[in-house]
Amino acid sequence: MILVKDNRCDFCGTCVAVCPVDAIELREADISIIHDTCIDCDICIWVCPIDVLSSDVKEEVEHD
């Protein structure tokens, strides 16, 4: 499951642009992953310029 590290997103939309299944919602200062649609391909994690996305559930807080 892709998670957004709490309060660190800059809302630039790079992840949205590469998401192959349109599973990321972004507005002025809010981002959320649509988990039902997400296919866990992880490319949003790689492309994020500030490493805000993670598939590691241990230390991260889900932000939605």
Partner: protein, 390 residues
């Protein structure tokens, strides 16, 4: 009767040009911007060519930070290649520049609404006929004869209408930029660092912003972004080379280095600017090209309103005119970019060592690309195409 003739989604340079062009054709036009401000945050290096800019707006010292006459390129081993520019360049204050363009559009009759986040389309009979949006927590909608989506790299409006806008990882650079103060750089020179030590698969830039300030940023190609973080690489660079610089603002963003989308129109909808991937695939520059695309889209929209036909077919002129104006050149640049992506750091150093012997007055961007083509002969034809505009 629809609420408007044309709705433009997104208030950047492409959106403002589209809205202005549509309004000038007599279309009742509104432009919706999701953020609180037109022009902010600035996710951009802010460099433009003077020649391209002057076609759209009279340069105003209020939004020109610096005027550029020199280029420096650095190889992975820090060999410096200096040369002049045929055309002057500007580093803009995008925050004020975007305001000026939106103001120019509003003076042409465009209405503008900020804080309007488009979250859906009104689609009837397989044709886009308006948008659903949120304003200050309220759900609203507006009808129109057609919609122009200039909603940036993250564009979702195109997807809502069924256009394929998702960009491949290899066609996206992961970018990070800091505007720094207390930095001693030549205020008339832009400085590019090329090589995997600076920015794998992309480049690092220093664009002066006047008064001891500069935009320092980098883009890492998506395929290398798994191993490298744009934020960490830029801060590593600043710590090493500009330890006394203060970061005044920092932004991240995606730089699409793809070809223009295959399909940029559907019934009642046109995509433009970053949303249509109208960005130079080698430089990542998209301000002027977005304005070119936006203006054509707005003009075609105005003509469609006059003719009463808002079908995809009525928008045929848009992709055709874009392709002629910029799209064809971008395709050549895309192939050049593919060639450059295969060049190793050692080869880049070799090219730089050769070029550094050439007097700078004899150097130009074309000469540099030609030198690169000696290492990758298959890009030579595209270098000719890109620079001759054929």
């Amino acid at each position: 009767m629809t609420d408007y003739d044309v709705i433009v989604v997104g208030g950047g340079p492409a959106g403002s040009m589209a809205a202005e062009a549509a309004a000038k054709q007599g279309a009742r036009t509104i432009m919706l911007e999701k953020d609180r401000d037109i022009g902010y945050p600035v996710r951009c290096g802010e460099g433009v060519g003077a020649f391209g800019l002057k076609k759209f707006i009279e340069p105003d010292p209020a939004w020109i930070a610096t005027t550029i006459s020199k280029v420096r390129m650095r190889s992975p081993d820090n060999t410096l290649i200096d040369f002049g520019m045929d055309d002057a360049g500007f580093i803009l204050h995008r925050r004020l520049f975007d305001y000026a363009l939106a103001n120019q559009a509003s003076q042409a009759g465009v209405e503008i609404q900020t804080r309007a986040y488009v979250d859906g389309l009104i689609i009837e009979d397989d044709c886009v006929r308006g948008v659903k949006y949120q304003y200050m927590g309220e759900h609203k909608q507006l009808t129109a004869k057609l919609v122009i989506a200039a909603d940036g790299v993250e564009s979702r409006v195109g997807r809502m209408a069924g256009l394929r806008t998702a960009t491949k990882l290899k066609d996206m650079d992961s970018g990070y930029q800091a505007t720094v103060g207390n930095i001693d750089v030549d205020q008339e020179m832009i400085d590019f660092y090329v090589g995997s030590n600076w920015a794998p698969g992309g480049y690092l830039w220093i664009f002066p912003k006047g008064n001891g300030m500069a935009n320092i940023g980098l883009g890492i190609n998506g395929i290398y972004a798994k191993e490298h973080s744009a934020h960490d690489m830029l801060h590593g660079f600043l710590d090493k080379y500009f330890p006394k610089a203060s970061v005044l603002t920092s932004v991240c963003g995606g730089i699409p280095i793809a070809k223009t989308l295959k399909k940029i129109t559907s019934n009642g909808l046109m995509l433009t600017g970053d949303a249509a991937r109208m960005v130079n695939p080698v430089t990542g520059g998209g301000i002027i090209t977005g304005m070119v695309g936006g203006q054509i889209a707005g003009d075609v929209a105005g003509l469609a309103i006059q003719s009463g036909d808002y079908s995809e077919k009525a928008f045929d002129g848009y992709p055709k005119r874009w392709h002629k104006a910029e799209g064809k050149t971008h395709e050549a640049f895309y192939r050049i970019g593919e060639g450059i992506a295969q060049i190793t750091d050692d080869q880049l150093n070799k090219i730089a060592h050769r070029l550094v012997k050439t007097p700078s007055e004899n150097l130009s961007l074309l000469k540099i690309f030609t030198a690169v083509a000696r290492e990758k002969p298959k890009i030579l034809l595209d270098v000719t195409r890109a620079f001759a505009g054929i």
